[in-house]
């Protein structure tokens, strides 16, 4: 178990120290190409760091769990998939790494085997499968015209195939939590054991963004329809994620909705880039910074939520919370200003409003955590890991700013006013509390689920009629619950 927790270290070293390289393995899969490039290094670096911290955290978190062997096995498998993903430069191995990550993570979601976990796992799996199928269809289409299965060739083929681009956007959108494809997210992230939640929300959902960056013809072709749709969905996610998150009463669910909201900002960046290829060179690093910033901050938040409540914990949590809200001097402020710079004025304004909303959501989180009972003493490994995550969040502005050489140093005020506005609204709400409507986690799913379940049962009954016929109609063919 001990050595297992160190598995992300080689990846971290690779990201930190290895030069860019390309390695062709024609016998592997359908002709594999592995390699390290700029985007890959960025994703690999923060993911490996997060996995390393989470793995050690997990070793402490699950020290008394009888099924920890199974958990750690699947945890490592998920991590391997996630960390290999940035290194893959051809479609088959990318798809493989993506699938390994996705399906192994199911085991993390259902680990506790509680009723909620099983339901979340089921929905996670269904959505993930749908996503995989969308991706597969897109890849099939692109491979028709592409000369090879290399990512670069497929992306070039995608310029002429808007339908495939839409499939790609939706397929990876399941992972990034685009509205209506997000339903699994607020269910699955909270039920998993805390270290798993951290990587799910911090690293794994970013894999979808990597998919977009790799396969969509960003900066090479103008796809206004798709681009603006994505932008619209991103904005909706940014605001609705906060709105629904505020209505949640579980801390981890709040965090999950915050992820939906934050990923919405990334969708906005990618969407605008699709519609206006000329803006992409400026947007690309901004999206990268937002990815890393949110990954580290959300990771730190989840890891902190898993620790026993207390003053120090709350104080520690305030740092990544502020970062997420985009407070000055944090990585959040850097990311937001980078994202805002190339965008049209009105979009920039909306991002600022979203930042204010995030502030509100973070306050809600801290408010919920305040009342938590004291649990048993934390394991040292957990605390140390969390401390590591906090250091990473604090240091993020320093090591992220070289990515944005052209960005003027952010005006403190432009970062501060949304936060202050958020605080003001919070104070007002505290003074004049408004009734919070109860929205179940998974929001629209609550309406869809009964109908879909009934449909599924009807299908099962339907297809078992030959068996009932053979059994003389006495077996009543009780349907199983859906997968």
């Amino acid at each position: 178990m001990k050595p297992l927790a160190w598995f992300p270290l080689p990846f971290l070293l690779l990201a930190a120290a290895a030069p860019d390289f390309v390695l062709d393995l024609p016998a592997l899969l359908l002709g594999a190409r592995l390699g390290l490039d700029g985007a890959g290094r960025l994703f690999l670096g923060f993911s490996a760091l997060l996995w390393l911290l989470a793995a050690h955290y997990a070793a402490g978190y699950l020290r008394e769990d009888p099924a920890r062997g199974r958990f750690m096995g699947l945890f490592c498998l998920t991590g391997l998939g996630n960390l290999l993903l940035p290194l893959t430069l051809d479609a088959a191995s990318f798809y493989l790494a993506f699938a390994v990550m996705t399906f192994a993570a199911y085991g993390l979601v259902v680990h506790t085997a509680s009723h909620e976990a099983l339901r979340a796992g089921r929905i996670y799996l269904i959505m993930a499968l749908l996503g995989e199928m969308l991706l597969l269809t897109a890849l099939w289409r692109l491979a028709q015209t592409a000369p090879s299965l290399l990512v670069a060739d497929l992306a070039a083929a995608a310029r002429l195939d808007p339908a495939a681009c839409a499939l790609l956007a939706a397929g990876f959108g399941v992972k990034t939590g685009l509205p209506l494809l997000h339903m699994w997210l607020p269910l699955a992230h909270p039920v998993a054991p805390t270290p798993a939640s951290a990587v799910l929300s911090g690293a794994i959902i970013k894999a979808g963004v990597l998919g977009w960056l790799r396969f969509l013809p960003l900066g090479a072709a103008a796809l206004p329809d798709l681009g603006w749709t994505l932008t619209g969905l991103g904005l909706a996610a940014a605001f609705l994620g906060v709105a629904i998150g505020l209505a949640q009463s579980a801390a981890k669910t709040v965090l999950a909705y915050s992820s939906v909201s934050q990923m919405g900002l990334i969708s906005v960046g990618v969407g605008v880039g699709l519609a206006h290829p000329e803006l992409w060179p400026a947007l690309a690093p901004a999206v990268g910074v937002q990815v890393v910033h949110h990954g580290l901050a959300k990771g730190a938040l989840f890891l902190g939520v898993g620790l026993p409540a207390g003053r120090w914990t709350l104080a520690g949590l305030a740092l990544p919370a502020l970062a997420l809200a985009g407070a000055p001097l944090t990585s959040g402020a850097l990311a937001k200003s980078a994202l805002k710079a190339p965008l049209p004025e009105y979009l920039g304004l909306m991002l600022a409003v979203a930042a204010g909303a995030s502030t509100l959501l973070m306050l809600r989180l801290l408010w919920l955590l305040r009342a938590r009972p004291r649990a048993e003493r934390a394991d040292a490994r957990m605390t140390l890991s969390w401390a590591g995550a906090l250091i990473a969040v604090a240091g993020a502005p320093v090591w992220l700013s070289p990515l944005l050489p052209e960005l003027p140093p952010p005006a403190p005020w432009s970062a501060a006013w949304p936060v202050l506005a958020g605080l003001a609204v919070a104070a007002a709400l505290f003074r004049y509390p408004a009734p919070i409507p109860g929205i179940p986690p998974g929001d629209v799913l609550a309406w869809l689920e009964p109908g879909l379940t009934r449909l599924w049962r009807a299908l099962l009954r339907g297809v078992s009629w030959p068996d009932r016929l053979a059994a003389g109609g006495k077996a009543d063919g009780t349907p199983r619950p859906g997968p």
Partner: protein
């Protein structure tokens, strides 16, 4: 007789002769019987290896014997024959090992292994048949050789299953015979040829040729379990596990699918078949089978039955690939011929392991089996993921090429069929995987027969073949790009068929 003529006969003899000797052996001669079985299996493996190397180097292997004027028994070990032949040989070896372990101490083993060897002989005959007549001879021999295996247990239930099996397969054989004789009347004696041999008849006989196609496909379609000719397959589940494995993976259904391949590519020729408008109906039939098989699998509570319906669905992937007009579809269909075999045999080995070790037959009894039998369950997981077409498994390679082929042929609807089938496969396999790994065991095993000894969760003869075939699934999926292996071989055949 030259060496090139003798080799194909040697391949047949390597299982026929041990089989005949085994029939005559008394029940108690376990050692000699096992030795004969393994000798035959290894000898065949070596012979097929020689053939493979030879064919890759451009050699021709064949043998011809006249039974009537103008009617020849022809054996031809070409690349297509060896694709199927090598699969059968390899899996026969594993199934033999498995069967030795599975039937340890049970009665009538001489009879069982005798027919088992005959069954493989028939399969190899089907693989190497050089014309429709020879194909038919071995196709019927296969029916006869498998019947005693299906009814091996001798219970009334087994008999019922056996009778249903016979009714379907003999009926199919009769239809096939009609088609073959009719065609023989039109063309005279003709061997399978790359690109088919009917194109010379031209459009003049179009109507007749369409009718004959229907007869031929209906005939082989029974064994290939094309809906609505699939009714025998779930019934034949009464057979012992190694038999089910063989039936589903190598022998019977594969013989049917292989027949479709031969008929479309080497009798009609894929281009001529397309010009007669035969491929689209075939693809539709395959599509219906794929979806219906998957849906029916969903409804099954018995593990082997679920696997059986899964076979119905999966075998039609091969037929779909054949019916997609274009090289990529062909590659997908041909490679799935091998891949489905390896994956399905693993699943049946696992089902046999659960049944034999713990007495588990129903899916509901599998709760927590992963903890008790981790190795078997890992193998099951790999194979089930393969069936869903998850990457890194052999199934993905098949599905990938089939999807490409569907788009290439302009049959976009076939992509939806593949997608739907993948989702349905997930819907009936993933709950099982969830059960074995994540649901804790709630009650005692139905009938624990083989106690765990240390790391060995069941008999090693049951475990070894299971793990070996599971490893093959991964190797075929991970090293698909290698210059050897099923994918490379299927591509080589495809080049010939479209030349």
């Amino acid at each position: 007789m030259t060496a090139n003529e003798a080799l194909p006969l040697g391949v047949l003899a390597s299982s026929l002769i041990p089989g005949l000797i085994i029939f005559a052996l008394p029940e108690a001669r376990v050692g000699l019987r096992t030795a004969l079985n393994l000798f035959g299996a290894f000898a065949k493996l070596v012979l097929v290896g020689v053939l493979l190397a030879g064919v890759a180097a451009g050699e021709d292997y064949g043998f011809r014997h006249s039974v009537l004027p103008g009617l020849d028994l022809v054996f031809k070990a070409d690349a297509l024959a060896l694709l199927f032949g090598a699969l059968s040989t390899l899996l026969w070896l594993f199934t033999t090992l498995y069967a030795i372990g599975y039937l340890e101490g049970s009665p009538h083993r001489s009879r069982f292994f005798g027919f088992f060897s005959l069954c493989v002989t028939a399969t190899m005959g089907i693989a190497m048949a050089g014309n429709l007549f020879t194909f038919f001879v071995f196709y019927e021999l296969l029916t006869l050789a498998t019947f005693p295996l299906v009814v091996h247990r001798g219970t009334p239930q087994a008999m019922r299953g056996g009778m249903v099996y016979l009714a379907y397969t003999l009926g199919g054989g009769a239809v096939l015979l009609t088609g073959i004789v009719w065609l023989h009347g039109l063309t005279g004696s003709a061997d399978f040829a790359h690109g088919g041999y009917l194109a010379v008849l031209g459009g003049e006989h179009a109507m007749q040729l369409q009718m004959i196609f229907l007869l031929l496909i209906a005939g082989v379609g029974v064994k290939a379990a094309i809906v609505p000719l699939h009714g025998w397959l779930p019934q034949a589940m009464v057979a012992p596990a190694p038999v089910s494995a063989l039936l589903h993976a190598v022998a019977v259904v594969k013989a049917g699918a292989f027949g479709v391949v031969r008929v479309v590519y080497e009798v009609y020729g894929v281009e001529f078949a397309q010009s007669l408008d035969l491929l689209t109906p075939l693809a539709l039939a395959a599509a219906v089978t794929i979806v219906w098989g998957s849906l029916r699998a969903l409804a099954q509570e018995d593990l082997k039955k679920r696997l059986a319906f899964s076979t119905v669905s999966q075998v039609s992937y091969i037929i779909l690939g054949v019916a997609l007009f274009g090289p990529l579809g062909t590659v997908g269909g041909l490679v799935h011929l091998v891949h489905q075999g390896v994956m399905k045999i693993t699943l049946f080995f696992c089902a046999g392991n659960y049944a034999e070790t713990l007495g588990i037959h129903k899916i509901g009894e599998l709760d927590g089996a992963g903890r008790r039998m981790p190795l078997t369950t890992v193998a099951f997981t790999v194979a089930a993921l393969g069936m869903m077409g998850a990457p890194a498994t052999a199934g993905f390679i098949s599905k990938w090429h089939l999807g490409l082929g569907a788009l290439e042929a302009g049959m976009d609807w076939a992509v939806w069929v593949l997608i739907a089938s993948s989702l349905l496969n997930a819907a009936y396999f993933l709950p099982i995987l969830h059960r074995v790994w994540f649901t804790p065991r709630a009650r005692a095993w139905p009938a624990e027969r083989i106690p765990a000894r240390g790391r060995l969760e069941t008999g090693w003869l049951l475990l070894l073949p299971t793990l070996a075939t599971a490893a093959m699934i991964l190797v075929a999926g991970l090293l698909a790009g290698a210059d050897w292996g099923p994918l490379a071989w299927a591509k080589r055949i495809t080049v010939w068929e479209y030349r």
